[in-house]
């Protein structure tokens, strides 16, 4: 009944680990760091482009020119040239942004939610269930990632939702591990004992009290997970396991590769989707790096 008051008074939630710098939120701190600022700018730019771009410049995957229009370098008509089927690369890149981001973000969401839940539960409870889930987590952790997703995708099919599931369900172990070890130590804090004696249910303890203290770690892990998911989708698509209908950046590079774009030195075909991937992943890496510095003061440079 008075649990909520105690929580507020004792300062035991997010500020335990976040350690706010006087009155700045962490978003402000990130903005103050040049790398963090760059990361945020790039990320926002890419997201905006991926939403607005395909509306302003729609891409028709079936429209192609005749044979002469194939592999044309950039011109005033086709700003980034044409691909192996005569389609406009500029428009394809914009649409590809949407698909790549969609897969990356959705797969990460699955991965983080599953990972966090497994980590919370297996860290909080003792006993068989907790041990079992830890063993399962460790097992998946030890399997090589790309071979695993290749195998799963080739067995279960080439469909965007399968890709999302496959990526999501193979990257949760890293989140689960981190969350679990943090929960193990928070579990020992005295305030948990106090709240328990006030009659809080396990559910409430885990989600209303322990989770806020784990959030900072989940944030910095999230960023890495998203970066990895986008790279994973691109790689899967490149290897020919992506959804043939929804063209992502990886798919574009797949077609570029199999149609010999490298040999023809068609740099306009290879650069845009690749740079797109690099920019998105880089934006997450930059923000992640800065977030680490904010959360762990020892890593700060003066």
């Amino acid at each position: 009944m008075n649990e909520k008051n105690i929580n507020e008074k004792n300062n035991t939630s997010t500020s335990l680990i976040l350690g706010r710098f006087k009155n700045e939120t962490w978003v402000q701190q990130m903005w103050a760091d040049p790398l963090g600022k760059a990361g945020i700018i790039i990320l926002v730019a890419v997201i905006l482009i991926s939403i607005i771009g395909p509306i302003v410049f729609p891409f028709d995957s079936k429209a192609g020119d005749s044979v002469e229009g194939v592999f044309r370098p950039p011109s005033s008509v086709h700003w980034l040239g044409t691909d192996d089927m005569g389609r406009d690369i500029f428009r394809a890149t914009l649409t590809g942004a949407q698909v790549s981001l969609f897969v990356g973000l959705t797969a990460s969401a699955i991965s983080i939610i599953v990972g966090a839940i497994v980590g919370l539960l297996s860290g909080y409870y003792f006993g068989f269930g907790s041990n079992l889930s830890m063993r399962v987590t460790d097992f998946f952790f030890v399997l090589p990632v790309l071979p695993l997703i290749i195998v799963l995708a080739s067995i279960f099919g080439q469909n965007i939702y399968i890709t999302i599931l496959v990526i999501g369900l193979t990257s949760w172990p890293s989140t689960a591990r981190i969350v679990r070890s943090q929960v193990l130590s928070i579990r020992e804090y005295k305030f948990i004992e106090r709240i328990k004696s006030l009659g809080a249910t396990d559910f409430r303890i885990i989600f209303a009290h322990i989770l806020p203290n784990v959030m900072p770690l989940i944030y910095s892990n999230t960023v890495l997970v998203i970066a990895g998911a986008i790279l994973a989708e691109a790689t899967l698509a490149f290897l020919g396991l992506g959804d043939p209908v929804r063209v992502s950046w990886g798919t574009m590079l797949h077609y570029a590769f199999v149609s010999g774009a490298a040999g023809r030195q068609a740099w306009w075909y290879l650069l845009p989707p690749g740079i797109g991937i690099v920019l998105v992943v880089l934006s997450f890496t930059l923000t992640g790096h800065t977030l680490d510095k904010i959360l762990n003061p020892r890593l700060r440079d003066y």
Partner: protein, 319 residues
């Protein structure tokens, strides 16, 4: 003979919020063979002042002013290489006994042998090892534990090992930075007793820092009290204990409970130390002082000799 003379030392720390003036015009001196205690609350600048002697401050610090004269030479003029030769051989440090003060993946013995071999290169390894073993014995650790790792020692033992390590090169000056703060009371007493014995036996010159006055009074010859980066009182332990001049010291004495006397309500000092980002122009203790006068907020008092070798930085004490 004055072994160490710190003159008007000022140190700043750079932070995103601005420059923190941690140490402001500090004057401290130490005679050979004596033990000086520096007391003050957290954040008053005592560790910063003392670590500056060995130039062990962090990268964002800046010594803006002052001299540190050790055996006649100003250490602040020395290059880093020269300081490396001086550290441990002439000035050693006993750190707070945190879990991590000793390298966890090296044996305790090897960590004590290392500085001997570095600073006295003509010593053979065998000699260094036997010297280390007898050092360990002298602090009450069996020499058989030479090859143990730090995690195999208890907190008290680790601190003894640190003490042994600090004496390994027979330095002229030993600095003890809160040596017993991390230990429980029983072990505190043991360690303090050990330090007392060793300092008498070896005629050590020592500077000991603590926020706990009771720790210092039993051990030190001279005491300096620091507040907000400045020295406010300096004198023999007896004088400071029995006749504190500065109002801050007086209040500190009052707040120590007396186990013999009548039960009295403990009187703290209301208020907080000043913000060192913008240190006050006048006396730092002005806001909390009961004896303040109008001139106190305009001019910072200097540390002046009030009575025989008893110094105070307070306008009111000159009367």
């Amino acid at each position: 003979m004055t072994l160490l003379d710190i003159q008007k030392l000022s140190i700043c720390f750079h932070s995103r919020a601005g420059d923190v003036h941690a140490v402001d015009g500090v004057n401290i001196w130490l005679e050979k063979g004596k033990i000086l205690g520096i007391a003050g609350e957290s954040g008053c600048g005592k560790s910063t002042t003392v670590l500056a002697i060995s130039r062990l401050l962090s990268a964002n610090s800046r010594i803006s002013h002052g001299k540190i004269i050790f055996k006649g030479e100003d250490l602040l003029q020395k290059t880093e290489k020269e300081m490396e030769a001086i550290r441990w051989k002439h000035i050693s440090v006993i750190f707070q006994g945190s879990m991590n003060a000793l390298n966890p993946i090296k044996t305790v013995g090897s960590q004590i042998v290392e500085p001997i071999l570095i600073h006295e290169p003509r010593t053979s390894e065998k000699e260094a090892i036997s010297r280390t073993k007898s050092l360990l014995e002298s602090v009450g650790i069996s020499s058989k534990r030479f090859s143990n790792y730090p995690h195999e020692f208890s907190g008290g033992m680790r601190q003894r090992a640190m003490i042994a390590m600090s004496l390994s090169c027979q330095p002229e000056l030993v600095i003890a930075d809160e040596p017993v703060t991390a230990l429980d009371v029983m072990i505190q007493a043991q360690i303090l007793e050990l330090i007392k014995q060793l300092s008498e036996k070896l005629s050590l010159s020592m500077i000991m820092i603590s926020h706990d006055l009771s720790v210092l009074f039993g051990l030190c010859d001279q005491i300096a009290i620091m507040y907000a980066g400045r020295v406010v009182e300096y004198g023999s332990a007896n004088d400071v204990f029995k006749n504190p001049i500065h109002p801050y010291t007086a209040r500190l004495m009052q707040s120590i409970p007396n186990i013999f006397g009548e039960k009295v309500l403990i009187d703290g000092i209301p208020g907080y130390p000043p913000d060192l980002l913008n240190p006050p122009v006048g006396c730092a203790f002005f806001d909390r002082c009961v004896e303040r006068m109008s001139c106190c907020s305009e001019r910072a008092p200097e540390l002046l000799n009030v009575s025989k070798n008893h110094f105070s930085a307070c306008h009111a004490s000159y009367k």
